[in-house]
Symmetry: C2
């Protein structure tokens, strides 16, 4: 195992040259920001680098640099935003490209000497429990990790790379995985990369790591109390899916360690023939819903896509279709792919009424259905009236074409769907040519 | 309603001529039996006519005559059987045809002057609670009804005809309906045909009629304590299906009385075209299992067919087929017809393992499936391992051809199935030409 880890580290640990480049870039940007604060007579601005760059826990090839400008809490919010953007914009003049991002307040994102730089204004509060906006917490995390990480940096690198390669890294809502801060805390808590895996191999939902006594209880699969804020679960964004995947992968690695656990493989797009062969082998029904991806950030898009996914599953099941799997993919188009036991059903459905002896209700039921020309049959089964009625939709495509608008869709997805969508069934999915989607299908088929 | 009932009675009430013929036949047979008892020096034999013929509750055109020969309870059972058959066989010499039947003990069935005559030996016990064999009860029933039926005969005729026409009459196991004695008791208890219907319209399962205090409690849908034996529920053979059908029919008749309720209509056999049209309209899957009807009495055959029906439904559902309806029919061949939502399914099935955190079990599950070349896919869903495995049977026909022998079949049906059976799917059912089956299909399609 040691040999494997050594090999992996050689690949993922930044070289001295890479480190120097980062340090120089960071120093330069800090200096420029400080100068700009003075030039513009901005009071009480303090600069600091935060995140993995500041903690020596960044992986070679990733070029993220987070520069925080902190202000006194007495500064009005508008002023904080104004000053933050002012410094950001002026540095941006020297950048390859830039844009403004909006989280709780605006910040500046720029490409600078090949680095992805975020320039973020925040408040310099007394403690993480007294934050004014979510970003105010970051400097406290930074401080805590810097105080405890010495000697464990390599273990953090290994854990991050392991998680990245296996698809459980990243706390954005699309992934619902482990954040960088969470991996660092896990390594600090357990003592090494391997010890984290050993522990994870026996985790159960509700697993709680109290680096500090929590102020209340949490419901998430994994609970890691933030040592800088006992009100917060650092693993709050981790889904049950990613939690259990990590457990499973930890066991696998410990049983049979290999470098492949640290290598992210990109699936090849499936060809038409591969798709058809796979469908033929599975003999299931495929339906895909396609629409223009709404123009919004991923943290807003993906929760809406997931909501749509659940809602479409429910719609199908309400109409007696049996869903095997569903999956969302988003590129220029967003595509919800659905695999069904059968994509078409009979024309009839059994509609059970009340037991015959529940007089009033059963008589109403009988009255309603027995003389309806659409009723296929009316009889008693297990003491209950049964009306055989025509199905409104005996093909999943028809159902989705007619009823998708009745599904709970998020605001942006809904707007996009309103503008038009297409339902493809069976071989029609071959009309989707996007290579990203075709690669994504490989996980599915 | 009175007019309708009058009209029906005109049709179903035996004419004076018919009655005279019955009385003459009964008298002759009684006299002959008495003579034979004396001739053969059979001690203590007493003759009586029992059943509807003795109670004036028989419907015109039915020609059943039950003659009971009762003996002293001290007579050994072999002697009783010997004497019963001896008298029966000698009378049989004058009959058009005859056979020996076997219930608890042997009796003689004969065709005599157009009547279906049963000559049955029984014990002359003190009370119905002290019976030695089940037939010993009949004379007590006869006595009770004769004492209470005066003036209600027409109402019994109407109720019997109503139940016959609607398919709920007959306590044999094939039907699971109302016995003649039960209809008589209901009329005596409620006071008239119409009053029985009024009461039935509001019956619920567990409805209990205590013409005498019961000695224990009963679980059947309808409980009518036998006035001659408080240990017995006269309605024990009545199924929930027939019970609720009768409730429903009673309400219908009271709402809109009509002579059609008293007319049994024989369904026409369906033509090939009619069957195909109906299948096309329903778009369901049809499968039929055919085998030689075992050579046994209906009270043994039908419970075995019903057992097979339930067992085949379970088999199909275990393999993920969705059963809409099933039905049994028996002529020369026995045929179990099954209607399915889809007669074929996908090639894959999702096999859910334990939650990932149940370490030992989930690791075993993973080990077992992940390297199996037949596994289509292996993943985590809702925290549980899922293996996508090939279905053993993706067509219902294949399943039934291969696994029918694993179903719980009764002794006779099992023997017959062992000798060979055929599974027909879809249009293949057109190969079944029996008109009885084709008529039976009309209820189904």
């Amino acid at each position: 195992m040691d040999a494997i880890e050594k090999q992996v580290l050689e690949r993922i640990k930044p070289s001295d040259e890479e480190k120097t480049r980062l340090e120089n870039t960071a120093s330069y940007l800090m200096k420029r920001a400080e100068e700009l604060a003075i030039e513009n007579e901005i009071p009480g601005a303090e600069l600091q680098v935060v995140g993995s760059a500041a903690r020596d826990t960044w992986i070679s090839g990733t070029h993220d640099l987070d520069i925080f400008i902190s202000f006194d809490p007495s500064l009005p919010r508008e002023k904080l935003e104004e000053y933050g953007l002012l410094i950001g914009r002026q540095i941006a003049r020297e950048a390859e490209s830039w844009e403004e991002g909006y989280a709780e307040h605006p910040y500046t994102k720029l490409k600078f000497s090949g680095f992805d730089v975020d320039i973020v204004p925040c408040y310099r509060v007394e403690s993480a429990e007294k934050i004014i906006s979510a970003v105010d917490r970051t400097p406290f995390h930074n401080l805590f990790i810097r105080e405890h990480i010495a000697g464990l940096e390599n273990d953090v690198l290994l854990l991050k790379q392991f998680m990245k390669a296996c698809g459980v890294y990243g706390s954005e809502l699309r992934t619902g995985g482990f954040s960088g801060y969470l991996t660092e805390l896990l390594v600090i808590h357990y003592g090494s990369f391997e010890k984290v895996l050993h522990a994870a191999a026996s985790w159960e939902p509700g697993k709680t790591i109290e680096m500090v006594k929590p102020k209340h209880s949490f419901e998430e699969p994994l609970v890691v109390i933030d040592p800088t804020d006992p009100n917060r679960n650092v693993a709050a964004a981790l889904t049950l899916e990613r939690f259990t995947q990590f457990i499973s992968l930890s066991r696998d690695y410990l049983k049979k360690p290999s470098e492949t656990f640290f290598l992210k493989t990109k699936p090849e797009p499936m060809s038409d023939k591969e798709i058809l062969d796979s469908c033929e082998k599975r003999k299931t029904g495929f339906v895909a819903i396609c629409f223009q991806t709404p123009d919004t950030v991923e943290d807003i898009l993906y929760p809406q896509l997931f909501k749509m996914q659940k809602s479409v599953e429910m719609l199908l099941e309400q109409h007696d279709f049996r869903v095997i799997r569903t999956n969302v993919w988003a590129g220029e188009k967003s595509i919800l792919t659905i695999e069904l036991e059968n994509e078409s059903l009979s024309n009839i459905r059994k509609h059970f009424g009340p037991p015959v002896w529940v007089k009033e209700h059963s008589e109403k039921f009988r009255e309603k259905h027995i003389n309806n020309p659409n009723t296929f049959a009316f009889y008693i089964e297990d003491g209950k009236y049964v009306a055989e009625l025509p199905r409104k939709y005996s093909h999943a495509k028809d159902l989705l074409e007619s009823e998708l608008h009745n599904c709970a869709l998020g605001k942006h997805v809904n707007r996009s769907v309103q503008e038009g969508y297409e339902v493809l069934a069976g071989e029609e999915i071959l009309r989707i040519k996007e290579t990203g989607y075709r690669a994504h299908l490989r996980d599915f088929l």
